[in-house]
Every structure is written in structure tokens, then in C-alpha cells.
């Protein structure tokens, strides 16, 4: 006799979901959950030892391993050149996180603040990068750089980064332009600079800072964080808006100005996208209610893009 066997299904919580992460305590736990969740979804590669990447040619000198002579170049030039390889982890990544007061905003207790979201994303990226033996550093800023940790692959680097982000107080207003200019001077290595901020600063100043980074051959990418309420403006009735960065207060009826507000936001994003596009800087808008997997995917895409560029440059 056949009977229908009872079936049980269980749904594991998605640790990319900001609402799930908001229920977890501690940046370290949140970031680790994100990364573990990310890897749980990846296939193990069947190829090993291929993480060595060609970097450059140099003239053969006595004592060099003959296996590294590039015979194709010898055939063309009749000279011996040794191929130099560089491991992927050699990439320098600097996470530039905005810790101004405006990043403290969240529209719902179910969500992460923009700063928490930035920290979880940064922690996850740092974990991911360090596993790939990339150099990872951190810069926290508001009106100026408040914390700076030089990119490194030390074994306790991740904990250092997470501790720093966790213990930092958020206050002051955003001054991203000056911060980027200062960072450009501090970084000696060519670095992938990931700017995670709500960009509530002067548009021209931001662009100026990014341009200076580009000038110093760094590769900035900009992640513009928004709370979902900032993108939809879902208020009604009479509301007293209290500015977070000493920007004053405003009594308004949201229904009357919603259209104008959303147009302003859209205009800002379009301007940023256009300006960054001219500088070949990646600009992405993230909603803090969005899954964090998007940020990791975005990071990996940027990293892959950078490695591809480097490879093509060597081949030329």
C-alpha cells in the first residue's frame, strides 16, 4: 500500500538580504555570512595553479630558469626574454567608506543603515579579496580621512579592517572630493579604489577628486548608496524633515514636492553617471534594501575587468 510520505522543506535565510543581515549582530558575523553565502553558490574550479598571471618581460640574465624563456619572442627578435608572472592576489584594493552622519540614515528598523550596508559590503569584499590574496586596505572618511589602513595581505588584516569599521563613530559631514585627493597622494601602488558613499557632497568636488585618482593611475569605482526611502520618498501628511549633517530642518507636504524631489535625485544620478563615464569610472547606484550579492558581483566584475586590462597592456 502506498502512502504519501510527508515532505518537509526548509528555507535557509539568505544572508545577502539586508533585512536578514539587520537581524544579525556584529559586522564580522554579517560580512562572513555574506562571503560564505557567496561561496556556497560557486563551483570549485577543476584547474589549479593557474592563478599565476603573466606580468612582464625582462632580459635574460644568467641563472634564470630556462623554462621561463619566451621562445616566441626569441623567434621574432632573436633575443632572450624571460616572462615574468604575477599572482592575482597582488592586486591592491582600497575600500573607501563614507562614515559621515548622513550614512546613519535608514528608513526602517528592518533595514541596515547606509553605513552598516557599506561596512557589510566592505567586509565581505575584503574577505573575498584576502582569500584571493589581494592586498586590501581601508579608508574611513567624513570631512577628512579619519582612519587609514594600508592595503595588506596579513593574516589579521581582515579582523583589523572589520574592527576599525565597527568601532568608528559616525559624525560630521561628507567631504569626498578632498578625501580622494588626499588618498591619491597616500597610495603608492596602483590601486582599485572602491568608494562607498551616499555622495552627499558637492558634485564638482567629487569629480575633481576622482579625476585626481585617475591621474595617479588608480582605478576608482563609485558605489552610490541610497536608502529606499530616498529613492521613492514615500511620505505623506505634514512632515518635519530634520537634516542629519546640520543641514537644518524643513516642514513640507511630501505629496506636493515628491515629483520635484525624485527629479532632483534622478538628475544627480544621471550627472554622476555621465561625468564618471567620461573618466571611464564605474558608477553604480545601490539601494540598501537590495541584496548584497550585487555588490560582490560588482566587485568581482571590476576586478576581472582590471586584470583583463593589465593583461592586454602587457601583451601590447
Amino acid at each position: 500500500m502506498m502512502t504519501d510520505a510527508p515532505t518537509t522543506t526548509s528555507t535557509l535565510p539568505s544572508y545577502f538580504d539586508p533585512r536578514v543581515l539587520a537581524k544579525l549582530h556584529g559586522l564580522e558575523l554579517r560580512a562572513r555570512m555574506v562571503v560564505e553565502g557567496f561561496f556556497a553558490g560557486m563551483h570549485h574550479s577543476p584547474h589549479r595553479g593557474l592563478s599565476i598571471e603573466f606580468a612582464d618581460h625582462r632580459a635574460y640574465t644568467q641563472g634564470d630558469d630556462l623554462r621561463h624563456i619566451d621562445w616566441k619572442v626569441f623567434a621574432k627578435t632573436d633575443k632572450y626574454y624571460i616572462k615574468e608572472y604575477e599572482q592575482e592576489t597582488n592586486m591592491h584594493v582600497l575600500l573607501v567608506v563614507d562614515c559621515s552622519e548622513s550614512m546613519n540614515y535608514r528608513s526602517s528598523d528592518d533595514l541596515l543603515t547606509k553605513y552598516e550596508y557599506a561596512c557589510v559590503a566592505s567586509g565581505a569584499i575584503a574577505h573575498l579579496a584576502l582569500r584571493q590574496r589581494d592586498f586590501v586596505g581601508l579608508a574611513l572618511f567624513d570631512e577628512h580621512i579619519t582612519e587609514f589602513i594600508k592595503p595588506s595581505v596579513r593574516h589579521d588584516q581582515w579582523h583589523t579592517l572589520v574592527r576599525t569599521m565597527s568601532s568608528h563613530d559616525r559624525q560630521g559631514s561628507t567631504s569626498l572630493g578632498a578625501t580622494l585627493a588626499e588618498l591619491g597622494e597616500r597610495l603608492s601602488q596602483r590601486t582599485l579604489v572602491i568608494v562607498i558613499s551616499d555622495l552627499f557632497d558637492d558634485h564638482e568636488a567629487i569629480l575633481k577628486g576622482l579625476t585626481q585618482l585617475r591621474y595617479r593611475r588608480h582605478e576608482p569605482i563609485v558605489w552610490n548608496l541610497w536608502d529606499c526611502a530616498e529613492l521613492t520618498f514615500p511620505f505623506n501628511g505634514t512632515v518635519l524633515f530634520e537634516g542629519l549633517e546640520q543641514s537644518g530642518t524643513l516642514v513640507a507636504e511630501p505629496d506636493a514636492i515628491r515629483r520635484q524631489y525624485l527629479e532632483e535625485v534622478q538628475q544627480f544620478q544621471n550627472d554622476m553617471r555621465t561625468s564618471c563615464g567620461r573618466q571611464r569610472i564605474s558608477y553604480s547606484v545601490f539601494d540598501t534594501s537590495q541584496s548584497l550579492s550585487v555588490t560582490l558581483t560588482s566587485y568581482l566584475a571590476a576586478r576581472s575587468n582590471r586584470l583583463r586590462q593589465r593583461s592586454s597592456r602587457v601583451m601590447r
Binding site: 548622513s102 540614515y105 501628511g237 505634514t238 542629519l244 524643513l250 507636504e253 506636493a256
Partner: protein, 601 residues
């Protein structure tokens, strides 16, 4: 002088002021809402500030327009509830033209009702008229009509002198008379007919406690017709309203309010018979009506005769709008004039104490004299033309055939009636007014002077019965008695109709709507009345004012009753003896003669 009505033309001025005040409500709500806001911390302040700057002009405009719209809507609603009005007098002020204002002031009995503060409805009505006068234009002319029966045009020719008008208004007395709206409407029509209404138009203001508006509402179909029967008052009022409406004039009905509407009234006091004589028991019918809004229990009703209590009845309960009829038997032993009074318990108090009692003057006769003019008088009572009629009125006369009744006096065996028989020639010497009823029995002709005397007699309130017969000269009757419709005869006499050989005689047809005179006989279709045979009759073509009491089986009228001025006339198309019919041989003949005499009396 600028009156409140001119400055503030609303039926409810207080509500209008409240409506204006309500216009501040949106402003107050707006101010409260501005102070009642939700606090929200906000990061993207720069975007918000720029958005607000951009939207500022549009928001400001929408905001204030919306506020203004709300204020206007509320104020308009408030003013509409207060019922604004304009009158032709206001328009007249604008156009500088002169209008006619007719004031109909009710000064009937019910206007004496007083409320708890002691102010009568009549005083309130006068105060209203005073305010109304103030709202008229100085150029308006005013006419004043009172409704107490008979309605009177106090100012028949429109007057413009305010001092005179106010004096005449203040001189209008309150009365204990009934309201005569029918007459009042006629007076208004007289006023309207006598003036040339200028461009200022005409308005009629009826100030009364009577719910006249219900009658007009019925006309518009808002109420069931049965709820407001087509009384003379209703018809007159509707006629006036229609006339004014057609002429684009105004009719304003103002019902004088009363805080205390409780009223119990003795609404009717009547006798069962118009014949009141000694020794004949009489039914006195009294009706008590509750015009108020609450039930009354244990109401005592007392009947008094010349202030001596006859009997007291208790009405257990009388609900609002209900009426109760109480009947008592009464016997008069002595002839004379009596005063009957039906009154409620003296301890009972209501808004209108005057209608708590009702009086009726009764004249009690020992015998009623009836004059019979016999066209062919005989020494034998039943051989004459009036013999059977006399026998019906005073049967005791049959007992003494040797002494036929003459005008020398009635028999010693008295009955209710005292018939006297005379020749047509003797009629001229009779004092007609001593007889309440006169019968012409187959009288061939009368001179013009005799007809004129009879006509005057009936016009003064006398009753004349005419029985047909073979002697009647139709031309004489039509010429002097009918007189082209102006005389007392209720129709034109035709040629005599007779049954031909082989045909059955006519009978009397039971009528669906019998006259009060024969109503009780109609309940017995097998009675002698309907078995009688009519072989000849002298038809009369009745006028519209005439009522057909009995029909023949061929549809022709047999008995016709009619009012003539203050008196009554009855025409019987067949004879009063056995020559043309066998009706006198039937027992119902006595009833018909007695009832006819009662009707004519």
C-alpha cells in the same frame, strides 16, 4: 430704515451667521495641521531643499487655492442651509419700481392660542407683520386682509402711508370666529383685479397658524391627496397660488410658530334632527378632537342645558390626531329657546382654552306649523290634493272626518306638525313667515306677485315643497317660478309623461348615492317605496345646483331638492295623492313626507 431682512435676507439669519463663521474652520484646521507634523530624520536634505525651492510657487498657489475653495464651499453650504431669499421688494429697490404687497393676517379663533410664555399666536403674527413691513420698499403699496369669518379687506385699496398701515394693522382684533380662507382669497383676487400691478410686482404674505403649506405640497404631489382633501380652503388657496405663479408673483406662507401645540377641542356639537319639539327624544352628538402631539387620558366631557348639567361622560384615552364622538339623549318638556353647551373638564388646560367648550342654541317648538296650498280642495280630507300629506304629518286628523282641518287651528290630539290647508286664492292673505314649510299641492297657477312673495319667503330661509298634478300650468311655473334659472324652481318643467296602454308603470329606482332624506329607506330595497307604481309624472329638467333625491326606473328624476339663497325647495314630479301613483298607499310615504318636511324646515 434698513431692516435685517434687507441687509441679511435669510429665513434663518442665525444659521447664516453660523455658516459664515464656519468659513474659518478650514483656516483653523490648516493652522492646526501645520503644528501637527511628523518628525522624520533625513539625510538627502540638499535634494529636498532644491525640490522645495522648485515647487514653492506651484505649491503655494495650489495650497491657497485649495484653502480658498474649502472656505467658499463651507460658507456656501452654511448660507444655503440658512435659506437665502430675495423678494420682489428687494428687486423693486434695485429697479426703483413700485410693488403691491398683500398681507393676509389670520385673526381667527385658533390664533388666540398662547404658549408657555403667555404670548398668543396672534401677537406673534402681528410682530411678524411688523417686521415684514420693515422689509418692504418705501415705494410699495400695502393691502391688508383678515381671515376671521367673513374675511374682510381691512385695507382694500392698496395704501402707501406707513403710519396708516401700521395703525390699521394694530387695530385688527382677535376673534373667536372660524377662518374664512375661501373668502380671504376672494378678497385678494378683488384687490388684484382693482389695481394695475407695476414693475415692482406683487407678493402675497399669508401669516397664519394653519398648515397651509401642506395643501400646496399636495398639489405638487409630495403628499397623498387623501391627506389633504380638496376642501374649499384648499381649492381657494391652490387657485390663488396658480394665479400668482402664472403672473410671476410671490406667495409666501408663514406659519406662526407655537412652542405649545397641545390642544384638545370640542370640535362638534350637533343634533340628530333639525326638528326639535317637546316630548321627542333627541340625540346630541359631541366630538372631541386631539390636535396635539401627546395622548390624553380620562378626559371628562359635560353636556349642559342652560348651564344645568345634563350628563358627564369620560373619554378613556384620546391619542394625537384622534377624535372621539360622544352621544347623549336629550328630552325637552317645554317649548322655548335653550342653550346647549358641551365642555371639557374645567381643570384641563391647553394652549387654546376657548375651544374647550362649544355651544348650540336650540329652539324647541311645541308643534311645527305647515301650510298646504291645495289645488283642488275637498270637504273630505283624503279627496283633496293634500289629504295624504296632511295624514302623514298629523295622522290624528283622519279620526275626525267631519271636521276637516282648516286654518282655524289644529286638532286637540296634537302631533309634531300642525298642518293648515288653504286654497290658492287664500295664499295671498297668509303670513308666510309663520310657517317654516309650505307645500303647493297640484296648484294650477299663481300670479306673478304670489310667486314673488314665495320667492322672497324661500330666500329668507323658508322651505317650499311642490307636488305635481294634472292642474299645473307648466307655462306659468316656468315663467315665474323658474324665471330663466333665476327663480326658485330648480329646473324647467316639461310635458306630462304617462304610461301607454300595455306598458308597465314606472317604479322608483334604488340609487347608489341616495340623498340624506331617503338614505335610511335605501337600506331596504324591498320596502314599499320601491314597490310603488308611478303612472304619470311631470318631468323637470334639473339645474346643476339641484340634487336628485329619487329616480324613476326610466332614469328620469322624480324628487329634486335644491337650495335657494337661505331656503330650500323640493319638487315632487308626481302627485301627492293617488291620482298618478299609488305611493301614498305605501308606508314609506309617511317617512318621505316627514323627512321632506324636516329637510325643508
Amino acid at each position: 430704515m434698513l431692516s435685517l431682512a434687507q441687509f441679511w435676507p435669510f429665513v434663518h439669519p442665525g444659521l447664516a451667521a453660523a455658516g459664515l463663521a464656519a468659513g474659518t474652520v478650514p483656516i483653523i484646521i490648516h493652522l492646526i495641521n501645520r503644528r501637527r507634523y511628523r518628525r522624520v530624520p533625513w539625510a538627502a536634505m540638499s535634494f529636498l531643499l532644491r525640490a522645495k525651492r522648485r515647487a514653492a510657487r506651484t505649491v503655494w498657489l495650489e495650497h491657497w487655492l485649495l484653502l480658498l475653495l474649502r472656505i467658499v464651499l463651507i460658507v456656501l453650504l452654511g448660507l444655503a442651509v440658512a435659506r437665502p431669499f430675495t423678494s420682489s421688494s428687494h428687486l423693486a429697490d434695485l429697479t426703483g419700481s413700485r410693488g403691491l404687497r398683500i398681507i393676509l393676517l389670520d385673526n381667527s379663533l385658533s390664533m388666540q392660542a398662547v404658549d408657555t410664555s403667555g404670548v398668543s399666536r396672534f401677537d406673534q403674527a402681528k410682530a411678524y407683520v411688523d417686521r415684514l413691513m420693515a422689509s418692504f420698499s418705501e415705494k410699495d403699496t400695502v393691502s391688508l386682509i383678515t381671515t376671521a369669518y367673513p374675511a374682510k379687506a381691512v385695507i382694500g385699496h392698496p395704501e402707501s402711508d406707513r403710519r396708516v398701515i401700521r395703525e390699521r394693522i394694530s387695530a385688527v382684533p382677535d376673534t373667536q370666529l372660524r377662518a374664512d380662507f375661501h373668502g380671504a382669497v376672494s378678497r385678494i383676487e378683488d384687490v388684484l383685479a382693482g389695481v394695475d400691478i407695476a414693475r415692482g410686482g406683487c407678493s402675497v404674505h399669508v401669516v397664519s397658524d394653519y398648515p397651509l403649506h401642506r395643501m400646496l405640497s399636495t398639489q405638487r404631489g409630495k403628499h397623498d391627496v387623501d391627506s389633504a382633501p380638496a376642501t374649499v380652503t384648499t381649492l381657494a388657496l391652490r387657485r390663488l397660488a396658480d394665479k400668482l405663479t402664472q403672473s410671476s408673483h410671490e406667495l409666501t406662507l408663514v406659519r406662526v410658530p407655537s412652542l405649545d401645540n397641545e390642544n384638545i377641542a370640542v370640535s362638534d356639537l350637533s343634533l340628530s334632527s333639525t326638528l326639535v319639539a317637546t316630548g321627542f327624544p333627541l340625540q346630541v352628538s359631541m366630538t372631541v378632537a386631539n390636535h396635539g402631539s401627546v395622548s390624553v387620558r380620562g378626559l371628562s366631557l359635560t353636556l349642559r342645558r342652560d348651564q344645568q348639567e345634563v350628563r358627564t361622560e369620560t373619554i378613556p384615552s384620546l391619542g394625537p390626531g384622534q377624535q372621539s364622538e360622544v352621544s347623549m339623549s336629550l328630552l325637552f318638556h317645554q317649548p322655548g329657546q335653550y342653550m346647549l353647551e358641551a365642555s371639557l373638564d374645567s381643570t384641563y388646560r391647553d394652549a387654546l382654552p376657548l375651544d374647550n367648550s362649544r355651544c348650540l342654541a336650540v329652539e324647541v317648538a311645541s308643534r311645527m306649523p305647515v301650510l298646504l296650498v291645495d289645488g283642488r280642495r275637498s270637504s273630505s280630507l283624503l279627496s283633496g290634493q293634500s289629504g295624504f300629506i296632511v295624514a302623514s304629518l298629523a295622522p290624528e286628523m283622519l279620526y275626525d272626518q267631519d271636521t276637516p282641518p282648516s286654518r282655524s287651528g289644529p286638532s286637540q290630539q296634537e302631533s309634531l306638525f300642525a298642518p293648515s290647508i288653504v286654497d290658492p286664492a287664500e295664499l295671498a292673505s297668509e303670513a308666510l313667515d309663520t310657517f317654516p314649510v309650505i307645500y303647493l299641492c297640484n296648484v294650477s297657477r299663481l300670479s306673478q306677485g304670489q310667486w314673488a312673495r314665495l320667492t322672497a319667503y324661500v330666500a329668507r330661509g323658508g322651505g317650499l315643497g311642490i307636488f305635481a298634478g294634472d292642474l299645473i300650468q307648466v307655462e306659468n311655473y316656468n315663467r315665474y317660478a323658474f324665471a330663466d334659472g333665476e327663480g326658485l324652481l330648480p329646473g324647467l318643467l316639461q310635458a306630462v309623461e304617462s304610461v301607454t296602454n300595455g306598458e308597465d308603470a314606472w317604479t322608483i329606482a334604488p340609487d347608489a348615492l341616495p340623498h340624506a332624506m331617503v338614505r335610511e329607506l335605501m337600506s331596504f330595497p324591498d320596502s314599499g317605496l320601491f314597490l310603488s307604481r308611478i303612472e304619470r309624472y311631470l318631468p323637470l329638467q334639473p339645474q346643476s345646483r339641484a340634487d336628485v333625491v329619487l329616480h324613476l326606473s326610466n332614469g328620469q328624476p322624480l324628487m329634486i331638492a335644491s337650495k335657494f339663497d337661505r331656503g330650500r325647495v323640493l319638487y315632487m314630479a308626481t302627485s301627492g295623492d293617488m291620482a298618478w301613483n299609488n305611493l301614498p298607499a305605501k308606508g314609506d310615504f309617511v317617512s318621505i313626507i316627514v323627512n321632506s318636511t324636516a329637510y325643508l324646515a
